[in-house]
Each structure stands twice: as C-alpha cells, then as structure tokens.
C-alpha cells in the first residue's frame, strides 16, 4: 500500500479517541496511582498519557497474553472430550499511543510465532490488532532504539504513526490498509499537512548491532559471560517485561473432571528452564542463561528468523533488580 501523511489537530485527536473507544476496545497508556505507566482498556481521554517514556510492562500481552488457554477438556470414565477455544471470540483491539520500539517488537514476535507453523492464537490476535503508534519526544539513558536499527519515529509495526508537532497538533502517517480504513471512517478528523515540524527526541547510538552479531559468532566460551553475569539473580523480570521475549510454558490444570491446557510466559533466566527429566541441565549456571538471553536476541534470531530479538526499549535494564544493563553489555561485546 502507498503510505500517506495527514494532520490531525489536538481536538480532533480527542474525538478520534472517543469515537474509537465508544465502539471498540482501545488499549492506551495511563499513569497509575503508584506512578507506574500501564496500559489499560478504554481509559477516559483525560487519563491517557502522551508524556511517558516506557510503560513498566510492554504491550506484547495483546498478541501473546501472559496466560492463553489452548483448549478445555473434560475427563469421562474412559475417554476425554476436548473443546477448542473459539478464536473468533478474540475481540478487535486498537493499541493506542505505544512507542515505535514496542510496535516494531510485534514483527520480532511474528518472526517466532509465524516462523514455520503459524501459531493460530498469536496470528488471530495480530489480525484483530490495529496499532496507532506514537513517536517519542522523550527518552532516557535506558533507550537504545538507534543501536538496533530503529529510531524514535520508526514506523515498523504501526498501522498509523502519530508524531507530535511543535504547536501541539499531530502528524499522522497512514501506513497500512488497517490504518487507512480507520482514517477513512473518520475522514472528517484528518486534514492536509501544515508543514509544522515534528518534535522528536534524540537517542545516541551505543553500539553497532551487526558488529555485535558477528562478534557473538565464536564467543560462546568467552570468559565475558561469567564475569558479566555474576550479579544476575536469575529471575524472570527481564523476559517478562521484554516486548520480544516469546518463551512459554505449557501446563494442564484440572479441577475435578474438568480442566484446561494453557500456556504462560516463561524465561530462559530461570534455573529450571532447560532442566531435562534425566536431571541433566545443559544451562546449569546463571552465566549460561545470561549468554542464552543475549545470543538468542543478537545471534540466533538474526541467523534463523531474519530479525533481531531486541528493539532497544531498555525495559529489561530499567526493570532489573540488580542493574544488568543490556546496552552496556552489548557495547562491551562489540569490542571483545
């Protein structure tokens, strides 16, 4: 599709939000009582923030919820009956005001969930998702989008990308059919561009990701991993807040005769993640798990999925209880 650019005034933006919110689920960022930035369904427009840097959790749960039921079962005397989940019940969702890194992360997730066999849950959720992204006019020391081939105004993953203008209005880039269909339904709210300049933050490039990827090839046994992961306590925080981490666990939960099989987020940082039934664990120490985290994102994924596994959002680092700073480590890795 040919992309196009329009202008949407501040008042019209509010109208657009309210009209979308009246007819569908809109997932938008708000600042909660405890000052954490979280996405909520259909908050009032006044509550929606345009001033956040990063939400505590990413928005990946729209396509890859922390818990997804895969099927239900009921155990009879001799046989069980299985009921599939009706994927058509998955609602249409408009993701509002998510930043370019988070939107690009949907592509990274797609490279995993639609790698060879399509994951029907993920694909259905993506099909029902419309992304109205928001370029960044704020950033902090944890941001490093520019080191992983992105920028504060990358359009990757967005259907419409809003960018703030100096006078408080917004530029709207219409990037996909889904985006165009929203703009067409509310065409009275969009105008021709005014030539006003976009306000963008600058994010300093910290490393060259291609250099990192080439250094990682052959760095498996490097002492770097032990030296730089001693303080990692092996929790799941980094993977759970990360917009591109896709690992999950599958469990059955039965109450009486009935039960369900579900999947829920998992992390390669946990000590039991690769524990075999034999008792052998190929990643039996934390350094091996930390190495996996970096290798997966910067070596295995580029190699096998033609996508980096990191969008530079910085959440894993700002959320890590012991300041494992991934950008700092990648910067060091390009020079080992």
């Amino acid at each position: 599709m040919e992309t196009s650019r329009k202008l949407i005034r501040k008042q019209s933006l509010e109208k657009l939000y309210n009209q979308l919110s009246a007819t569908r689920k809109v997932y938008a960022p708000v600042i909660a009582d405890d000052k954490q930035v979280e996405f909520k369904y259909n908050p009032g427009f006044a509550e929606v923030t345009f001033e956040h840097i990063r939400s505590t959790l990413s928005v990946k749960n729209i396509a890859f919820p922390k818990v997804e039921n895969l099927f239900l079962y009921s155990n009879g005397k001799t046989e069980s009956t299985i009921t599939d989940i009706d994927l058509n019940k998955i609602p249409e969702v408009v993701l509002w005001g998510s930043h370019p890194c988070d939107n690009a992360a949907f592509d990274a997730l797609r490279s995993i969930f639609e790698w060879d066999i399509k994951d029907e849950f993920f694909s259905k959720r993506m099909e029902k998702l419309v992304v109205i992204g928001l370029s960044c006019h704020l950033s902090d020391a944890y941001c490093f989008c520019t080191s992983v081939g992105l920028a504060p105004n990358s359009s990757k993953g967005s259907d419409i990308l809003l960018s703030p203008l100096h006078n408080g209005d917004y530029q709207a880039d219409i990037l996909t059919e889904k985006g165009a269909s929203i703009v067409n339904s509310f065409s009275e709210l969009f105008e021709s561009t005014s030539g006003e300049e976009v306000v963008l933050t600058t994010v300093k490039q910290k490393f060259d990701h291609e250099k990192v990827t080439s250094k990682l090839n052959g760095a498996f046994e490097h002492p770097f991993w032990v030296e730089n992961s001693l303080r990692c306590i092996g929790c799941g925080a980094c993977a759970y807040v990360c917009p591109t981490c896709a690992c999950f666990d599958i469990q059955d939960e039965t109450r009486g005769k009935n039960g369900k099989r579900y999947r829920s987020w998992d992390s390669c940082g946990f000590s039991m993640f690769t524990l075999h039934t034999s008792g052998h664990n190929p990643r039996n120490v934390q350094s091996a798990r930390w190495r996996q985290r970096i290798m997966h994102k910067f070596s295995y994924m580029p190699d096998r999925n033609q996508s980096l596994g990191c969008v530079g959002c910085g959440r894993c680092s700002s959320g890590c209880p012991v300041d494992m700073n991934i950008a700092e480590q990648l910067e060091a890795l390009q020079n080992i």
């Binding site: 818990v67 020391a141 993977a239 759970y240 829920s264």
Partner: protein, 267 residues
Amino acid sequence: MNNLIARAKELLENKIVQVIVGYEAGPTGVARPAFITNPAKADLLIYDERCVQNLAVYLTKPEVRNLGKMAIVATLPVMRSIMMLISEQQIFADNIIVLGVSSDGSLLDIADIKVMQAYIEKSDLGNPVKDRALLVELNKLSKEERFAYWQKELSKCIKCYACRQACPLCYCTRCTVEVNQPQWIPVQSNTHGNMEWHILRAMHLAGRCISCGECGRACPVGIPCHLLTMQLADEVHNYFKVYAGTSEKMSSVLSTFEPNDKESFII
C-alpha cells in the same frame, strides 16, 4: 569509604580472600553489586545511600562461591542474613569475612561472628521506619479492606519471581512453585494463583525474614510484597519475642516446638 577500599585491597593483595562482594556505580548512576577479584579494581567500590541491595543473596550462588573465599560488604540486614544462613547451615562462618558498614557508611571492625552478634544485638531490629508506618496504615483497615488492598496489588503480579530470587533466605534449589506433581501453586499468573504464591512465600519466611525489604525493591511492577513478610516478622516477635538473624544457633520459630509455647492462635 576510603577505609573500605584500603581494606578490600589489603585482603585481596594478601590473598586472604579471592573476591570482595560490594557495590559499584553502573552507567546510569544506579548502585549495583560488584565482584572484585583484582586489587587494582578495588577503587571501583562505593558505599553510599544508593547501596541498598541485600548482598547476602550471593553467598549461596554457585558461580560466586566458585570464585573462592569472599569478603562481603555488610549492612545490618546483610549481617542478619549471614546469621540466618549460618544457623540454617547454608554457609560456614569461617569462609566469609564481614566488611561491616554502619548506617553512616563507616567501616566497622567485625573480627568474627561473636563481634557481629554483639553488633546485631545492640541494633534496632524492628522493621525499617518507613515500612513500619505503611504497616500501621494497613493494619488500620478492616479485614475486608485489607483483603481488597492485597487483591488489587497481587493482581499485578506477573510471577517473575524476582522477589524470591532477590531474597537471601529464598535459597531453595527447587521452590515449591516449581513442584508440579502434585502442583501446589498454579503456574499461571492470575489473582487467585498470585495470592497463593504470596501466602506461601510469606509463610516460608515467617520467623526467617530479616526485614531488609529486598523482595519489594526487586519487584518490577512495584508490589510492596515485603510488607507481608515484615508483618509476619512483627507477629513472630509478638508471640515469641525473637528476631530472626540474631544468633548463629537460632532454631526456626515455626519448626520448633517448646512445651511452654503460647498456643493462643490455635483455634
């Protein structure tokens, strides 16, 4: 702090220890754990109000232990954690040198465990002042309101287990939540399952929690889960008049029976 650096250098140069576990400043200015093995790098060590993490969690980590004998920068909560770990036979007192620091940052002379015990005994062992105030507020609520408060807080939990991993006393190599035959606690994160997880965690730490607050600090979504274990530390003190981590021979309150125990809470 200069004393700390000088002492660290001396310990490494004379090969009395192989590693110093302390704090350094990260690239964003946040203080974080550091593992210094080379005396020339001892200058990286810092100690100031940013240094809040409970370093005792590293005493039981295999790859840190592999480095050899260690000296550890220890505030009061770290010292109390060390006491607990000795009393629970997780570490040997002889294998660690305690670089005690007082709340104003000066280096203490902790020659051995007896000296450490004396220092702990003369310190304020109640919960930290700001947490005490939060608990007072919570305890003013009715049972129903308090339940609603925790339901709301715990519904945010994503079961990343950072609270568990950050706690020096959650050292089990296989946590109950990882046992799935039978599965005691649901793996999925939902309000009900999250509450079960937190009740379990609190009960496993009752009488063992040394009130460092690390679990709450570690939580990426800001759940004050340390208040649960701190409340139990208060309860244990009310019933049994003991504080955790005060002696190397302490037996765990909840796994010890004494004929003269008060049993007023047993219905």
